[in-house]
Symmetry: C2
């Protein structure tokens, strides 16, 4: 059919492979240009009978021209391509190229990419040009301007940390070591960005300039290679980071020409500000989780964008997700299989092997995605999977996913229990027993509406972005805590009226329950933190459906308990029974 | 590597195609036997360089033997295969066959399948054998035993309704029409099962006999062809149907030999009982949603089972999912693309085309999966997608997904508002305004703890299985409704104390909030149904994260409203301002 367009891809690695799946689903004919008959992408999609994949380097002009003649739209799975040929192909009308060769050229050179972003008012780390084959003096001059540490970076052909050399001092020795390491490639210098987290946002852009971003993710690198990616981004103590990161990424991609998916890598600074590190004009490792975790994967949205099909929803379809790269450990493929096999029993883990026929240390051989109903579940599975990676030690694993300790706050709580004073602790402790019984991760702390108002406000404001889903607040007397917390969060807040020294707790009850229209507190009985916790479990059952069954079992146990007493009362008679009650 | 086993598949249609994707992800070499170079499954996986797909009929003994020699485990994507050859292949040690050829043979003949199930005590519709080329008298005899209507069924090679002929009377004419229609195939007769719904459960079984079922789904057929499948099964007025269906399916599959995935089709009767219709020893159309909606798809679990890898989690990773088949309308492929294109803008819809090169009316050309955060969202998307299917009229679409009407209960509510008496309606109405504002589907009704205790109990017991996530109950005076409802459901119940004629509502408040340990009611202020609804929205935000932002916006609006009053008060002075308040 004439309306169906054939897509050609320069590069047949794992990104191309992951493009073949949505291509097959949508019935899009795809041809791949890469050297070898059996590259990862060629394994998973056969072109229609009239066409075949092309065997040759994706940098070769003649092969690119051959591909261009066979397809309607040409795209890339790698940005290190010959932008001149792509421009010529488009100019000569052989086929359309997406994203625009101009954009690919701009991004290929990290220095011109930085200049472009800075010119458009996008925040980036400070940077300076360096002349070809820079002298020690040239380097010293930029170090003076940018301070140390400074990164010397290759402008082109740099990825996974190759082509970056950090300079800790402006000593001749350090400078010459760096320059020797980087060779005679064109260089530039970048000031150090003392980030607290690395963040990435995938953005899809269509030809009309419509952009849609995915939720921001936290990216965790080791030796400059992405190891783990966590979605959505949680940043303790920083408000609206996810939203701000998405807006910044959309703004940056809006300055570029052409259609397709873009990976935008950013630094999150201590003050909560964001700056862009770099942009990839193609599917990106930090968006692999979108295959399972989002309505439309980055790969499908890339194809939709370059073919002018409607863009798909970028929403997460799960609460939390993570991606772990499977890197080659040695030249043996059995190491790779040992990592992927260890993921098979983990609920919610999906293995993606790339079909590479040779392994080497650090090579991306596959990845594992985890989808979960909660952060706690996610990090627990993540921990299991990290432990199967032989090059990671316990300390590093703890830094990503700390283990939880009974009797102390869980690192990824779903419920927060707070109280105005430690004197409320005896009343609130039964809530912890219930949450432990239902295996709900929680935290417990003290925050007072009157004595620590700022702490209370901060706690309430951050709660949702930290992954909490319910807050239980206990307070006595004037009992402002639950209502004040409810005023600063969108989460459901459960109030436990604590009986103080006078009025039998009725003062606390009225203070908590009689909230003004607009700000509700879910109030339970006086001193009844047990019911507060059970209510929290019932609330969580909306997002963790297995809790419905657990709660039904709990109700049956309550019934059995009473029926046991009925039997005993029948057997012993009430006089004997009530004697026992007195004990 | 010697530990990696090659899998051979008899049949290269869409089921084989969907097996190729997890095979690629897990690095499992796969060879397909089917006629043609370009069958759906051959398009999406290239065997390793040393192997190729086989071109020939999957019924041919020589081809099966050739395939068996090339692979370690042989499996099927269709049960209409030559079980004799598979048994020989296994006996001669050429390769392993899963599921067991014995099971395939048993299932191929629907009559022996039914006998087997009945012998094992599995409930099935009543059935009777028929001799070869049955006479009118033979048929009349079974009609006498089974009553009319009765189904005459071909024992073998029957699927998608082909080979079934309903007999409405025992008249000579009807009998001869049926027998003529069915031809000279071996037949049996089955009594009519007056089901209220058709249900299916996918079950995976490994060689050790471990079985794991997926959530039960509702299957909706039209002209005996599956059109729509909805997961998980919701059955109004029937308790625990999902669990019972899963247990029955697991029990049935446990009686069969060999490993693999099994599709178990059932009838749900009016009294809530279940009987098995038939079992397919392979991936099944009613499990296609598992690709997006479950942790491990039916296809991946089939491969895991036959290769003795750990079985994957069968849990849903989303709240609700649906699958709609894309059937050929004509011989034109553009009809197919027109249906699939209409799904592209629908959030949560995933298109799966099967790569078939020819269409014909009723042929399965692809399917669309929808994943959603709620039933309401699911049915709304489902409605959109059904409307793009040219052979379905509005009445049929309404029967699957009725449209909602403002001011009346939503067909797929997330919140149930109930009250003890219509006199509570004025107090409860503000709750409806809030839910409408946040676009939360809800229902509203009257049920009294004291005047309609059975109705109340039924409502509470069924609520969770109907997809409700929160109940708001308003009551005054003795105010038992919220607490009694909370005793019969695992859902969170919000209680609104309604101010009755005496005691200013304090009686209602105490009755609602002072629940015994174990059964909480989330109590809000007296007459404050606004807060009850806002609390419901906050509770729903755990499973519908977009509500967090909506609730934050709402809080900002409240703040703005007050700030507007501050300004007016400053401008007008308090005397003038308070005059206006009096009006």
């Amino acid at each position: 059919m004439s309306t169906i367009k054939t897509v050609g891809i320069l590069g047949g690695g794992q990104l191309g492979r992951m493009l073949t799946h949505p291509a097959a689903l949508l019935g899009i004919p795809l041809i791949i240009l890469d050297s070898g008959e059996d590259t990862p992408a060629k394994q998973t999609l056969q072109p229609p009978p009239s066409l075949t994949h092309l065997d040759g380097p994706f940098t070769s002009e003649s092969h690119i021209r051959e591909l261009a003649r066979l397809c309607d739209v040409l795209t890339v799975e790698i940005e290190h391509v010959n932008a001149d040929v792509l421009e010529a192909v488009e100019r000569e009308g052989l086929c359309e190229v997406q994203p625009s060769p101009k954009t690919i050229r701009l991004i290929q050179d990290k220095y011109t990419q930085k200049c472009h972003l800075a010119n458009k008012g996008i925040p980036v780390a400070p940077f300076r040009p360096l002349p070809p084959n820079p002298s020690e003096e040239d380097v010293k001059r930029v170090v003076e301007e940018l301070g140390v540490p400074v990164m010397l970076k290759a402008r082109t052909l740099a990825y996974d940390g190759r082509g970056n050399s950090p300079l800790k001092s402006a000593s001749s020795g350090d400078i010459h070591d760096s320059l020797d390491f980087l060779g005679d490639r064109p260089l530039y210098a970048e000031g150090w960005a003392p980030f607290v987290k690395e963040v990435a946002v995938m953005v899809v852009r269509n030809k009309e300039g419509e952009v849609r971003s995915y939720d921001a993710v936290e990216t965790i690198h080791r030796d400059s290679i992405l190891r783990v990616c966590i979605a959505p981004l949680r940043a303790r103590g920083m408000l609206g980071v996810n939203q701000r990161a998405r807006e910044l990424a959309e703004r940056a991609v809006s300055t570029l020409e052409g259609a397709g998916i873009f990976g935008v890598e950013m630094f999150l600074m201590e003050d909560g500000s964001l700056m862009i590190n770099e942009i990839a004009p193609r599917p990106h490792n930090s968006g692999h989780h979108t295959i399972e975790a989002c309505h439309t994967s980055q790969f499908e949205n890339h194809l939709r964008a370059i073919l002018s099909l409607p863009l798909g929803s970028t929403s997460l379809r799960v609460s939390s997700a993570a991606m772990i790269n499977i890197l080659g450990i040695s030249t043996s493929l059995s190491d790779v299989h040992s990592i992927s096999n260890s993921a098979l029993p983990v609920p919610g883990a999906s293995v993606h092997l790339y079909g590479k026929t040779a392994s080497r240390p650090g090579r991306k051989m596959g990845h594992i995605t985890i989808t979960s109903q909660s952060d706690a579940e996610l990090y627990s599975s993540l921990r299991t999977l990290l432990q199967s990676q032989p090059d990671l030690d316990e300390k590093y694993i703890d830094s990503i996913s700390p283990s939880s300790e009974k009797g102390k706050s869980h690192p990824h709580p779903l419920v927060g229990i707070i109280m105005g004073s430690d004197s409320d602790l005896p009343v609130m402790l039964p809530a912890t027993k219930i949450l432990e019984k239902f295996e709900i991760p929680f935290e417990l702390s003290i925050t007072s509406a009157h004595r620590t108002p700022e702490r209370m406000t901060k706690y309430a404001k951050e709660a949702a972005s930290r992954g909490l889903r319910v807050i239980i607040a206990g307070a006595g007397g004037a009992a402002h805590l639950p209502g004040m917390v409810a005023s600063e969060t969108a989460l459901p807040v459960i109030g436990v009226p604590v009986k103080a020294s006078v009025l039998d707790g009725v003062d606390s009850l009225y203070s908590i329950v009689q909230m003004p229209r607009g700000i509700p507190v879910a109030t339970v009985g006086i001193n009844n933190s047990t019911n507060a916790a059970i209510l929290a479990v019932r609330i969580l059952s909306g997002s963790i459906p297995t809790l419905i069954q657990a709660m039904e079992n709990y109700a049956q146990d309550l019934e059995k308990e009473v029926m046991g007493k009925v039997k005993l009362l029948d057997e012993q008679g009430w006089d004997k029974y009530s004697e026992k009650l007195k004990k």
